[in-house]
Amino acid sequence: MDILSSAVSALLGGWTLPAALAGVVWGILGGALPGLSPSVAMALLLPLTYGMDPTAALTMLAAVYVGAEYGGSIPAILIRTPGTNAAAATTIDGYELARQGRAGEALGISLMAGFVGGLFGLILLTIATEPMAAVALAFTPPAYCALGILGLSVIASLSGKSLIKGLISGILGLMIATVGTDPVSGVSRFTGGSPDLLGGIRPILVMVGLFAVTEMLSQISTPAWDKASSRDTRLKLPSFKMWKRLWKSQVIGCTIGTFEGLTPGGGGSIAAFLSYNEARRWSSHPEEFGKGSIEGVAAPECANNVVTATALIPMLSFGIPGSNSAAVLLAGFLLHGLIPGPMLFQKAPDVVYGLYGGLFAANILMVLVGLVILTPCIWLVNRPKPYLIAFILAIVVSGVYATDASLSDLWLVLIMGVVGYGMRWLGIPTLPMVLGAVLGFLVESNYRRSLVLARGDHSIFIQDPVSLGLLLAAVALTAYSVWSEFIKPARKLKNA
């Protein structure tokens, strides 16, 4: 009751509501701009919050996170370029739907799925922070390593026609993740002496190159364009009938998103890919996945918005930021003299509950803002292609440059674009590579950390119950995917 009244009073009085609106709008823009990650969008706003009341300031930052995780799906669907790491899984079916002239439908689904996910996560955050925090504490280095491996096991089902090509792609991604400072010894690896590479290659750069630049390159080399008139240009929200089809994928997204949010490190990307994979397995129309499935949009988008709320649990209860975005929010707390951690709920409950209220408002505002801006977005990508391609490249380049004002980042993106073009030409899927680049560091650093702990004894991965469970799940997932993707179809072919 206390929570409710604090939340309501925070919403009605003062600047919380306008702050949430400003945050959501900025977040959607930042998320939609490929190359600008949610954390950067948040960090850019941070100096503005110095003079604000803490509840409004934190609400604004958290609203940016909510908006950005949703905004990332807009370019993923419309131009096959995830605006954020976590939207990578959405490109698979989202862009396919857009190509079939169903962009409005796909955007409507991702908006509503994100809303459902965001609210679900928020409810958990409000009522179950304490038990959930215990889950976060149960994750030791071996468990994190196993979690990353579980994420990588999805490669088997993202490989398309050839498992070998999928694995090649995945390993390329893992190789990219080894660039930078060695996580255990601190030695510089594959940096060629350049300080720009000390911190490693950020996955978002790999993604922007492999998706946006590659897509533009291959669009340029295709002479004939789809006619713009053949597409629907209006946003379409899911009907009741469609909701009934989507509920299963939403449940999957919510469940997986919850746990991923709690475990710092993996964040939205593992959640999105795992829930895409599970949604496909449990769907009654698995054959549509990869060819424009609405469930393939709903599941990952639901999951990555659940993460926006559950990722706050370890941050608020331990003061431990699980992701870059949570780290910026943590900085926001510190700037206002609030120290997240076990005492926060006793010392500044009004701020915490006010933040919950602000997040609630942010999720609703996200839908309203989405309704307003999505139709113009669709209109925008239906302009003549030469303009569009120039426009997209300009946005991508400026987005990447704006983050760090670094030319080497820009070169990396362009190189990745060419690599992606080559891979497409050779028929090698790019998604496994993205997954490898996102998860490589998590897996490697925790693998080696575990071995330091166990003095080289690998049984630590079996002795840790969480690790054991996740590893078994990974084995089961891989076996199932290989069976259903490659062995079963081959047998069918033989029998026929």
Partner: protein
């Protein structure tokens, strides 16, 4: 009112000619204070707080600029090519020395000139409340008895804290496993869930856990106890000579005039003495040192040599 203030000012001037001599006009109207940390990061917060208290004393506009990327390499390069007239300084931390040693960028710490060192950040060894070890001496005794059994965690692989634990291993012969992490938060989880025996970190990272009595502080790695935590003995008092000195200061391009450096030294000293600033930094358990230019140069050179020797010994650099 205006006239009264002016009159008071004039009287003040007449009464203290020496003070008016010292308070010469700062040579440029605006000073950029650059940091490699992004908005909200450690050095960014340090600078913004410093600006609040030093700006009125020094009589110039102080603007914070975040030159992120390359772990300080880009900020150092920017500084080295800036005019040495007191219009730009860089917030120094051990990071800029480590980056120079680790990646040998075109412009390193040795091409900047330390001007003032403002604070030392105290470093603390801690464990979780459930741990059987009550004091740091207990930990050391146990480590010596059970060689090769203990697990210690440090924040980053090339950090001063890791170097300190490697030293501790050498002093005690404990052969403990030293696990490095991706920051203090990561490390704290593994101390809280019992994966590690001890961790090492800064007071402000631990404050909330200290208040909630989830962690037990074992030793401060400094020459003397902290005024904020008078009951916490140093490692030295517990029989192990282990000191980590992390610093926060300012450095400029080479050739900044001595009188500018002196103005900064005086301004920083005066700001550190003000109750308002004292309130803020003592809450974070920062130790005010205000080393002037000569001292800062000597300290930085010695510090860099020590870190270089330690990193070479660890095999991190050749």
């Amino acid at each position: 009112m205006m006239r009264l203030a002016a009159a008071a000012f004039a009287v003040g001037l007449a009464l203290s000619p020496a003070a008016s001599m010292a308070q010469a006009k700062y040579p440029v109207p605006t000073v950029t204070l650059a940091t490699h940390s992004s908005a909200g990061g450690g050095s960014d917060v340090f600078l913004r707080e410093l600006v609040k208290h030093v700006q009125p004393i020094i009589g110039a506009n102080l603007a914070v600029s975040n030159i992120t990327g390359g772990s300080g390499a880009r900020a150092m390069a920017e500084l080295a090519k800036s005019p040495a007239n007191g219009s730009i300084f860089y917030a120094t931390t051990p990071t800029y020395i480590q980056t120079t040693l680790l990646s040998k960028p075109a412009v390193g710490y040795d091409q900047l000139d330390p001007m003032v060192i403002v604070f030392f950040d105290p470093t603390i060894i801690y464990t979780r409340t459930e741990s059987p070890h009550k004091t740091f001496a207990d930990v050391v005794a146990d480590a010596k008895k059970n060689v090769g059994k203990q697990k210690w965690g440090a924040a980053n692989p090339a950090s001063l804290e890791r170097i300190a634990f490697e030293k501790l291993n050498k002093i005690t012969g404990a052969k403990a496993a030293i696990v490095s992490h991706e920051g203090g938060g990561d490390l704290m989880i593994n101390v809280l869930n019992g994966t590690l025996d001890i961790g090492v970190g800064e007071v402000q990272e631990l404050r909330s856990q200290i208040e909630a009595k989830k962690v037990r502080l074992l030793a401060v790695l400094g020459d003397k106890r902290l005024p904020e935590l008078p009951d916490l003995p140093t490692a030295k008092e517990q029989g192990v000579d282990l000191v980590v000195s992390k610093f926060r200061g300012l450095a400029g391009p080479k050739g900044v005039p001595d009188d500018v450096a002196k103005m900064w030294e005086d301004a920083v000293k005066k700001a550190l003495a003000s109750p308002a600033y004292k309130d803020v930094y003592s809450k974070e358990a920062l130790e005010p040192v205000a080393l002037g230019r000569e001292q800062a140069r000597a300290f930085t050179a010695k510090f860099a040599d020590e870190v270089k020797a330690s990193l070479t010994e660890l095999g991190v650099i050749k």
